[in-house]
């Protein structure tokens, strides 16, 4: 037990023999008016001072996560012949986007203990403190959350998606869908051997609205009355403009 603990501490220390050097194709995602998703290339190398260990093989896990927000999951049930929302579970924090890419199958790359320690898998990235006691199957709600977001391309589990060459170079690409939320996207890279994390690195990708999108969003939050009046003015001008244009068309 003690030896295992010492080993664990040693491997977690930054003095580990293998370290990650990272590159990103872009560290900013700009949401413009014509934004239609983005693909980010994440690549890097392993820096080491000693010869490559032959076994167990070096594996890489990469996670990209959106800002975490609380969310409500509701379940429908048949009541009086119609389908009604009945049970509700509040999930305390769920990332709006989460992609985890591994170089082998997930369980070969990362042990359960390490997954728990670093919250790597999608299931562990979601934090749900507790459902109301009236609901016994709260894990069904978390599963539903993952299922729905997977269908929307917001949660991705990409096994064998990281390519590792000569146990030194690695790369993967992660597709970010068009319905992204703004914010800082923490990106983590883990090097593992035999399921244990030997080195890790964290960086962030900024996802920001720019230009017109930025201006409209800020206006709607900071000066809502002006924004509302502007919306109305545009609506009335468009209505009047169309009417006038059609009158001209008929006369001309």
């Amino acid at each position: 037990m003690l030896r295992a603990l010492v080993l664990l501490l040693l491997t977690a220390l930054p003095l580990s023999a293998e370290e990650v050097v990272l590159g990103l194709s872009q560290d900013k995602v700009a949401i413009t008016a014509t934004f239609d998703g983005s693909e980010i290339l994440i690549f890097g190398a392993v820096k080491r001072e000693e010869p490559i260990k032959p076994a167990p093989p070096l594996e890489v896990v990469i996670t990209v996560s959106g800002p975490s927000e609380p969310i409500t999951v509701r379940r429908k049930e048949r009541r009086f012949g119609i389908w009604v929302n009945t049970d509700t579970v509040e999930v305390d924090a769920a990332p709006t986007f989460y992609a985890v890419a591994t170089s082998a199958s997930f369980h070969d790359t990362l042990s359960n203990v390490e997954d728990q320690r670093h919250s790597v898998s999608i299931e562990r990235a979601i934090r749900s403190v507790g459902a109301p006691s009236s609901i016994e199957d709260s894990q069904n709600f978390t599963r539903a959350l993952i299922r729905i977001r997977k269908d929307q391309g917001l949660y991705q589990r990409l096994e064998q998606a990281v390519q590792v060459d000569e146990q030194t170079l690695f790369r993967t690409s992660i597709k970010m869908p068009a319905n992204l939320t703004e914010g800082e996207y923490p990106t983590r890279i883990f090097l593992t051997r035999g399921g244990e994390v030997v080195s890790q690195l964290e960086t962030t990708i900024d996802v920001d609205k720019v230009g017109l999108e930025r201006w409209l969003y800020d206006l709607s939050r900071q000066k809502p009355l002006i924004y509302g009046l502007m919306s109305l003015a545009i609506a009335i001008a468009a209505g009047w403009g169309a009417s006038a244009a059609f009158r001209l068309l008929r006369q001309g």
Partner: protein
Amino acid sequence: MQIYLPIAEVSVNAFLLLGLGGMVGILSGMFGVGGGFLMTPLLFFIGIPPAVAVATEANQIVASSFSGVLAHFKRKTVDLKMGCVLLVGGLIGAALGVVVFNYLKSLGQVDLLVRLCYVVFLGVIGSLMFVESLNAIRKSRKNSGPVKRKKHNWIHGLPFKMRFRVSGLYISVIPPVLVGVAVGILAAIMGVGGGFIMVPAMIYLLGMPTKVVVGTSLFQIIFVTGFTTLLHATTNFTVDIALAVLLLVGGVIGAQIGTRIGTYLKAEQLRILLALMVILVCAKLALDLLLQPSELYSLGAPGGH
């Protein structure tokens, strides 16, 4: 062409939105309904968050109604006096509606109640209109004489009478104000202009001539939905101006075309078409409630709907 909506935070096809706006605009011009009862569910369907869809739709209705009402002003088919009386009721109703909406929200069942509201009102109004206009068409075929309207009912016994010259009515202001309040409440809860309720109410309850009903209803809707837009923009921040612009560009053009089409159709035909459309939307919503959904779980903002 994909476009990213800044408030809704989703990316959608711009031409799809233009097309939807145009289609609903044509219907709005033809029948004098804002088209919200069609557009709001359609926006849900293409993946716009419900809160944004409801608020933005209110803004879009302002545009298409304004465009439509101008065409009606040209033809002198707007009863301004009646419109103002309805509007007074409408604003009171909208304010009440927001209170009711927030109360339902605190109960956590607002979605269901909104849906039930839709099904009940669309169903009742749609079938009543359908039967009535079918009878009217049958009568006008049998003896081509004018259809006799009931001239006197309990409404004429109420006080505060007022003369509405354009509508050719001399009735108490109480029923129009009450109609306005009722429509205002429903408009705020259901996120629609309320034309599909007001048009039949004006024809059957107030006995207004069909000719002026459409223009007058559009006139009133502009102000009620304008008020609603401002409420949503300042309290919920859910009006998406980019979405609104795309919808209204299609919508205002559609409304102009629709108003022209409307002049070529007889009042009974117009009503029977509107009735069929209302029944169709109602049936779709009812099926959603009755059939088992493919996904039993749904995600929502915490505390919200």
